[in-house]
Subunit: 264 residues, 4 copies
C-alpha cells in the first residue's frame, strides 16, 4: 500500500498539501489511517509542472518524514499541477527508479495497489510495452510497467482510452493467471494538462480508498483526507475515474464493467 495526492488548480507551493496539513501526505507516511499498514517508509516522490512542458521530478529512497530536502522543495516549488507519493513497497526493492511518480516526456503517473501476483504476469505486462518505451524502463515495479504500457497503448492521443484499455488488458492477464491476489489500481495519470484519477479494483470491493475535494476550482485528490475531520471530502466510488480536463470541471465516470453491472 502507498498513499498519494494529486493537485490541479492555481499555482501553489507544494507544502500546502504535502507537508502543512494536519494529516498531510508526509504525516500519512508514518501514520496512515486507511492503509493496510500505518507506515509508508519505502521512499517517496514529487513530480510537478511549471512553465516547462516536461515535469520536474524528485525521488528518494529515504522515508518522507525525515527528508529535509523534501521540506525545502515543498516550500520553494510552486505548481499548478503536481503529484506526490509515499511508498510502502510490496515485492520490489527500495530504489529511486522504483519510487513514484514515473515520468516520460510530458506524461506523469503514480499508483497505489498491485497487479495481482506480479511474478505471474510480469512478462506479459512487459510485453505490452512497445520497444520505443521499453528503453525507458529503468525500474522493476509493476506500476512503471503499467505506465509504459498505457503510453504504448496510445496515451499521446487518447490518455483516458489508453489507460482504460490497459487496465482491461491487465485485468484479463490477472484473471488468466489464476492469482489469488486482487488487482488494485488506484492511480493518477496526466499529460501536463488533463488529470485522470482512477479508483479501480478486481474484485471491486478490494479497491483502495480515494477522495477528492474541490475548492474554487482547485482540485485535490488524495488516498486519505488531509485533515483530521475529513470534512468537504468526497469519495471516488470504486471502479470510477475522476476526469479533470483542462479548463473543465472535474467529473466522475464509471469503468465499462461498472456501467454493465449497473445496467443489469
Amino acid at each position: 500500500m502507498c498513499r498519494w495526492i494529486a493537485y490541479r488548480g492555481r499555482s501553489v507551493p507544494l507544502a500546502r498539501y504535502v507537508t502543512e496539513p494536519e494529516h498531510s501526505l508526509v504525516r500519512q507516511s508514518i501514520g496512515a489511517k486507511e492503509a493496510l499498514g500505518a507506515t509508508q517508509g519505502d521512499g517517496f516522490g514529487l513530480g510537478w509542472y511549471d512553465r516547462q512542458l516536461e515535469p520536474g521530478l524528485y525521488r528518494e529512497v529515504r522515508p518522507a518524514w525525515s527528508d529535509e530536502n523534501l521540506r525545502h522543495l515543498c516550500r520553494h516549488i510552486s505548481a499548478h499541477l503536481f503529484f506526490a507519493h509515499v511508498r510502502a513497497a510490496t515485492s520490489t526493492p527500495t530504489t529511486r527508479p522504483n519510487c513514484h511518480p514515473f515520468i516520460h516526456g510530458r506524461f506523469m503517473f503514480m499508483h497505489n495497489g498491485s497487479l495481482g501476483d506480479w511474478d505471474l504476469i510480469r512478462r506479459k505486462v512487459e510485453a505490452l510495452i512497445p520497444d520505443a518505451y521499453y528503453r525507458s524502463r529503468i525500474g522493476t515495479t509493476d506500476s512503471e510497467a503499467a505506465f509504459l504500457a498505457i503510453l504504448g497503448e496510445g496515451a499521446e492521443h487518447d490518455p483516458l482510452g489508453a489507460l482504460m484499455r490497459t487496465v482491461a488488458s491487465i485485468a484479463g492477464m490477472i484473471r488468466a493467471s489464476g492469482a489469488p491476489n486482487a488487482f488494485r489500481f488506484t492511480s493518477a495519470l496526466t499529460d501536463g494538462e488533463s488529470l485522470y484519477a482512477v479508483r479501480y479494483a478486481m474484485p471491486r470491493e478490494a479497491a483502495n480508498t480515494l477522495y477528492f475535494r474541490e475548492d474554487e476550482g482547485d482540485l485535490v485528490i488524495a488516498s486519505e483526507p488531509l485533515d483530521a475531520e475529513g470534512s468537504g471530502w468526497n469519495e471516488v466510488p470504486a471502479n470510477h475515474v475522476l476526469i479533470a480536463r483542462k479548463h473543465e470541471e472535474a467529473r466522475l465516470e464509471p469503468f465499462l464493467e461498472e456501467k454493465r453491472a449497473a445496467a443489469e
Copy 2:
C-alpha cells in the same frame, strides 16, 4: 524512542535475534509494541565482537526493515557479543554517525532515550569529554556525547563506575537546566568482555522498558521481548543495571539513588 538488543553467550549468527524471531528487532522497527511510536525507521546499526579486540560496525540511514544488506550480514556474521539498534530520531538528523551503536577502541555503546532538553545541556555534556576523546565525536547526538563522556570518566579501568558517575553528572545538569523533559537512559555498554545494561530515568517512572532472558548462559537483553508471548523474559527494574561480567552470571544492581530511596 528506539529499540535495541544486546547479546552475550555462545557464538551465534546475529540473525537468531535480529531478524528471525516473531517479534525480532527488525520486526520492532516497523511494529514496536512498547515504544512511544510503532516505527523506528531513522536508521539502524549492528556492532559485534569476533576474535579481534575491536568490534565490527555496520550502520545505515535506511530503515532496517527494507535493508537487504542487514539480512545478509545477520545470516553470515556470528558473534559471542553483539549490539543491534533501530532508531527513532528525536532531534538530530538521520546520518550514519548519529546511528547506534557507537564504538571507540574496544568499547561499544548504545542508547534508548534522551538527555532532557539537549539544546539546554549540550555544551555542558560536550565539555565533559576530554580532548583525546572529543576528536572521535563524528556525530551530533546526545547519546554519542554521553558515550565519550563515559570513556573520559575512566571507563578503561572502571566501566561501570564511569557509567554511573556520568549518569549522575548528566542528571545534575538536566536538573539544573530546568528542562521539563525527562532524562531517559536505557543503554548498554561493553568493553568487549563485560556487558552493562542500564534502565535508568529521572523521574524514575519515565524509564523506557528493558527485558532480559537467560538460557543456558546465553543472555539476551531487549527493549521488548522478541517473541509474541514474552514468556521467559524478566523486566529490568527501573534505575537498575544488569551486570554480565566475563565468566560470571548476570546480576542486577540498583543505582545509588535507588538504594537510598529503598533505605528511606
Copy 3:
C-alpha cells in the same frame, strides 16, 4: 578540496551554470582540473533564493554526477542568487549536514579549504559560536563551525566585517596551534542580497583558486572557469574578497594583512 560556484544576477535556471556548461560544476565533480584531486564525489548541495526571504536547500551524499534529482532541480528551479558546491571530504564523514552550503535564517555560506588541523582547534572554533547559534550546529565540519562563528560575530548587521574578524580569529588559533597544515578559506557568504566571495589562505601562496566573470550585470564566481577555454574569467587575487552588494557592481578588496604587506 571542493569546487563551488556562486551566482548573482537576473533570475536564471540553475542548470545554466551547474549542469550545462562544458566544464560545469557537475563536470568538475568528476573531472576537476585545478583541484588537488579530480574527484569531488563526497556529496553536494544547492542553495537558492526566490521570492522568499530564506533560501531553499538541497543536499545529498551521493556524487553529483549521478544524481538525477540534481538534474531535474537545476532545470526547474530559477534564482537570482544561488550557491552550488561539490565536496571532496577531508576528515569529516559524508553526511547531508556536512555538505555545503549551510543556511541559517536568510544567511548562506559555503567553503573550499580547511582550517589548519581541525582536531587541534575544533573546540576553540566551536567556542566562538554563541549558544543561540550553537543549537543550529547539526554537522561536524570546520566549515559549518566557521559559518556559525561568523553569524555570532555579528553578520546580521555587518556581514563582511564579521567574516573578516572571524577569519582573523581563526588564523590566530591556527598559528597558535602549531599545525603544519595551511588555513585555506575560499568561501562565499550571502544574506540573500549582498554576496561576499573570499579567496584567502595563510600562507598566502596556499590559496585555493577562485575566478569570476561578469556579463551584463550577471556575476558568476567559480573555483574553476566553467568553459574549457576559460576566456572572460578573472582570477580573484589571493587574500582578497569580491564584494557584490545589492544594486552595485562587484569590486575587489584586499584583506587587512594584504594591505599591510602592500604598504611595506
Copy 4:
C-alpha cells in the same frame, strides 16, 4: 568500466585485497590506472562464501572510498572465496540491485564491460532468461540479465559451458543488432566451489584488462594489479577463461573462436 577482484584460497580477511594493498580495489575506485576513467564511484559490492552454501552480499550505492561499513566488513569478514566490485555505471541507474556482484542460490557473478548497445538487445537477452530465473531480476543492468541467462542455460550442471554458450548467444545478438559498440565481457562466475574468470571481447582488441597472481595456492584475479609495481601478476589473454576448479590449480583455456583463429 568497472574494477573488480576475485579470490580463491585459504580463508583470509577481505581487507587483505580490498582495502589494504597500495593499489587496492578501494584505491582503484578513485584512482584506477587501466580503466577508461579513473573514478568508479557508482556503487560497489562484496560477495563472500563462508561455511554456508549461499554467499553473503553487501552492496551499496555510495562510492567505496568513503564507506565506513565497507572498511569494517573487510576487517571482520574472512572467506576462502569472494568477489568485490566497484562500479562505473554506463547507462543504468545507480541502485543497489544494479551493483555487482549478483547472487542466486549458491551462484555469484560480476562483470566489467557492456553488451554492445543495451537498448538494442535488451529484450532479446531478457528473453534468454527462463521464467524460473526471471523473477530474480530485481535490477535493470545488462550484467544481471547475462547472469540469469547463464543460469538458465544450465549453469547448475555445467557452469563453464553455460557461460560460454551464453556469451556466444549474446555475441550473435550484438552482431545482428548492428551496434557500433563492442561486446566487453570481463567477468567472473562461481558456484561456491569452482571459479571461472573470463576476459572476452568482440572485437578481441576491445577486451578490458584482467590479471591474476598465484601464491602458494591462493589465487587473486583483478582488473588491475593490486600493487604499484605489478610484479608477479600475469595477464589473462584476451578471449580466454581462467579456470580454478575445486582442489585444482588454475589454468587458462581459450574461447572457441580463439582456438579457431589460432588454427587458421
